[in-house]
């Protein structure tokens, strides 16, 4: 006859089943904590949160077990099961040469995927990249080979990443600046920006009517009362813009004025930017569907005093406005909000402001221009739309400042480049 399990044993079994409701184990005697730990392992219920719970008890036996079993807290990204790893490229524009700590911090999130690292052609030093990644590195010679010199398209500075977009053969691209690290959410968990961007891109966007509970496709959310049912299927999301903790993407005058201000507010929402509404899309933390909208991300607006800090550029803002106008015309969606990245403190806004302030002034022309662009019904492809925007820019802004005439030309050259170089898979759908 088998002896029935002890009350203690039953209690520990029950605790294993209810781990999600337990917030603190430190009051338990050591031998019970160890027993609970082993049974948790056996039941396959050890995850990052549970591991933290055991570590928080401070018990030596728990630490010995962790060391002995070589348990490490790694973040396993949870991707939608419909997405295969080989559909994603992570494109990093290297504006600085030493990418060691950057790559190591992102390793848990990046290592599954193919990476494209593009070196700023103005960068003199050799790139330092740690081992263990599946990647391709592109430098100036590659650019010259692919693009030739007879083009006004520029890949210097932050715009070097566009070369990566051009040569990528994948459907989805995720791109973050090389001074950004993974952020933590208010509960202390590391944010998997890659998985989050993919979720944004693979769930519909809802640009035609504002949902007051933000993303209706998020867990625990839905469309609110009064949201027309015919609009609930949504449209394809072409672009996902993430945000930044710590050093937010303010312009130089703003950051100089509020020198100590750092963004610590984690806004737990993703939302679709409504159709017809323009938005300054920062290039610091973005993802997009390259097959659907690739040509619309244009390396076009190069400021006269453009430099190696975001405060000294506006290329991404111009590019983003172009993408939004094209998406609005073609019925595609743009989302903004999560995921956050942690943007490290770098540079001096006052120095940047002294060097380059034209960009801020130019926005006074740029925004009204994009707000007034009307694309003709005949423009049904992304390439056609970009050409229309370029022609309109040349016509309406070309005489205001030569930088705009150059931008317009760069856009036209970019479309041609895209048509001749970019990989279009046979299965990629027309928009």
């Amino acid at each position: 006859m088998r002896t029935s399990p002890s009350l203690l044993s039953l209690t520990i079994d029950s605790a294993v089943l209810n781990l999600s409701n337990i917030a603190d184990l430190s009051s338990l005697p050591d031998h019970i904590v160890v027993d609970l730990f082993l049974r948790t392992l056996r039941a396959g219920k050890l995850n990052e949160r549970v591991l933290k719970l055991f570590i928080a008890t401070g018990k030596d036996e728990v630490f010995s077990l962790i060391r002995a079993l070589n348990i490490r807290a790694t973040v396993i990204p949870v991707l939608p099961t419909t997405i295969k790893d080989d559909e994603i490229d992570i494109v990093i524009g290297a504006v600085r040469s030493d990418l060691t700590s950057f790559m190591n911090e992102w390793r848990p999130m990046f290592s599954r995927f193919h990476l494209i690292i593009v070196k700023d052609p103005d960068l003199k030093e050799e790139l330092k990249i740690p081992e263990g990644f599946n990647l391709d590195v592109y430098e100036k010679p590659h650019m010259d080979q692919v693009v030739g010199s007879s083009t006004s398209v520029f890949f210097s500075g932050y715009a070097c990443r566009y070369f990566g977009y051009l040569v990528s053969r994948k459907k989805y691209i995720i791109s973050v600046d090389d001074d950004c690290l993974p952020a933590r959410d208010p509960k202390g968990f590391v944010v998997d920006a890659v998985a989050h961007h993919i979720t944004n891109l693979t769930t519909p966007a809802t640009p035609f009517f504002f949902n007051t509970l933000y993303d209706p496709f998020a867990e625990g959310s839905d469309f609110v009362r009064g949201y027309p049912f015919s609009l609930r299927t949504g449209v394809k999301c072409a672009l996902s813009c993430g945000l930044w903790l710590n050093l937010a993407d303010h312009d130089a005058p703003t950051q100089a004025l509020k020198a100590k201000q750092r963004n610590s507010r984690y806004v737990d929402a993703v939302m679709t930017v409504p159709a017809g509404s323009l938005v300054p899309i920062s290039g610091i933390n973005i993802a997009f569907d390259r097959e659907v909208v690739g040509p619309a991300l244009v390396p076009a607006l190069k400021l006269a005093g453009e430099g190696k800090f975001r405060w000294e550029t506006m290329e991404d803002i111009w590019s983003g406005l172009c993408v939004k106008v094209v998406c609005d015309h073609l019925g595609l969606g743009v989302k903004t909000g999560l995921p956050y990245v942690w943007r490290t403190d770098r540079g001096d806004p006052i120095a940047s402001l002294k060097k380059e302030w034209e960009g801020v002034k130019l926005m006074e022309e740029v925004v009204p221009f994009f707000q007034s662009v009307r694309l003709p019904r005949e423009a049904t492809t992304v390439e056609d739309c970009v050409v229309e925007v370029a022609n309109a820019a040349k016509e309406r802004l070309g005489l205001t400042d030569p930088v705009f005439a150059r931008a317009a030309k760069a856009m036209l050259d970019w479309v041609n480049l895209w048509k001749s170089v970019a990989y279009i898979s046979s299965s990629s759908p027309a928009v």
Binding site: R225, G226, A269, V273, G276, P280
Partner: protein, 359 residues
């Protein structure tokens, strides 16, 4: 910009309008936040029932008899047996700001566990500008710790006056009946720490459960329609008002904000009852949204009242054929404006704005 100045109480400039048919017990929880203010209670349903107001509140209470007495034949525009009757409270108020809340809404807690003073946040929202012309990716740029992002034109950073502050709800979310039936157990537990301006040209579903507005700027457009007894539709009162006010705000260059504050919504109404009320609305909104999206107001509509009368004309012309209800509604909209102007004779505040620019 060193210290953040405390939010003014505005206790002599703000009325709290509460529609009720049962009781006002919920006010006890709100006492620390509401007691300084004047309440306007609009009692729906049986006027012979006595609604007890908790001690210590300064209030005026109107039941159906009062509404009929004050408005005479124009009382026909005020709904009966529906919380839409609350708009009568907006009409009789003499204050600059209104906050309206449902009697099943309680004080919520923020993620740190602190009680949320919803009224204070609404006042903050209403007193600082909106930014409808260009989306700020860091949401409300005037909030502590936030600002405009790179690329935001400086000429647009002054913003425009805020007419409406739309708050949200934790616990029972404001779902329609079909969604309630499919997800009866879903609760909104996500605290989104943001206020944002709804861009110009974008419509939204405005919920009347937790709503603040500047009565001087937009009051006459806050008509909550014909709902309830004798009407083919219910639970679309706030929706209707929301579409009207957004079109008018877009035309007059005013802002509408949504997001914080949260209140705790405690009661899930019966989804089957709701389905009966909303049924026609679910079909009609497919026509209503394109209608509102395409409404254009002529340049000479420079006051809220003029804009509203113009919308009522277009409702009759274009929606009358969807259902005769819209003919009645269009007439009621006109009656409402007549009643509003009667009770609020212009002279001092005519809500005429300098830039009545056409859309």
């Amino acid at each position: 910009m060193a210290t953040v100045s405390p939010t003014p109480l505005l206790k002599d400039e703000l009325d709290i309008v509460i529609p009720t048919i049962r009781n006002l017990d919920f006010l006890e929880m709100w006492r620390p936040f509401f007691q300084p203010y004047h309440l306007i209670i609009v009692q729906d349903g049986d006027p012979s029932k006595v609604i007890k107001v908790p001690e210590g509140f300064d209030y005026e209470l109107y039941n159906r008899n009062d509404i009929n007495r004050i408005l005479g034949p124009k009382a026909s525009c005020i709904s009966f047996k529906d919380s839409a009757c609350r708009c009568f409270g907006y009409m009789v108020s003499k204050k600059k700001y209104i906050y309206t809340i449902d009697d099943d809404c309680f004080v919520a807690k923020d993620p740190s566990g602190k009680d949320i003073n919803a009224l204070e946040q609404h006042i903050k929202n209403l007193l600082c500008p909106s930014t409808p012309f260009f989306f700020n990716t860091l949401y409300d740029p005037y909030r502590d710790g936030a600002d405009f992002v790179r690329g935001y034109p400086f000429s647009l950073r002054e913003g425009v006056p805020t007419a409406v502050s739309h708050g949200l709800w934790l616990n029972i979310p404001d779902y329609d009946a079909p969604t309630q039936l499919v997800k009866p157990l879903e609760r909104n537990t996500r605290y989104v720490d943001a206020v944002m301006t709804i861009p110009k040209g974008t419509l939204f579903p405005m919920c009347g459960m937790n709503l603040g507005f500047n009565r001087d700027l937009i009051g006459p457009a806050m008509y909550f329609g014909l709902m309830g007894d004798g009407q083919p539709i219910g639970r679309y009162d706030d929706m209707w008002a929301g579409w009207c006010i957004k079109v008018i705000c877009d035309h007059l260059g005013l802002g509408v904000k949504t997001g914080l504050p949260y209140i705790w919504h405690s009661k899930a109404s019966n989804p089957f009852v709701n389905l009966k009320k909303e049924y026609k609305g679910i079909y009609w909104q497919e026509e209503l949204i394109p209608f509102f999206q395409s409404v254009t107001l002529p340049k000479d509509c420079t006051t809220v009242q003029k804009c509203y009368i113009e919308i009522s004309k277009q409702v009759k012309a274009k929606l009358g054929k969807v259902d005769d209800y819209f003919n009645k509604l269009a007439d009621a909209m006109v009656t409402w404006i007549e009643a509003w102007d009667e009770l609020n004779p212009s002279g001092a505040k005519s809500a005429e704005l300098p830039n009545g620019a056409a859309k």
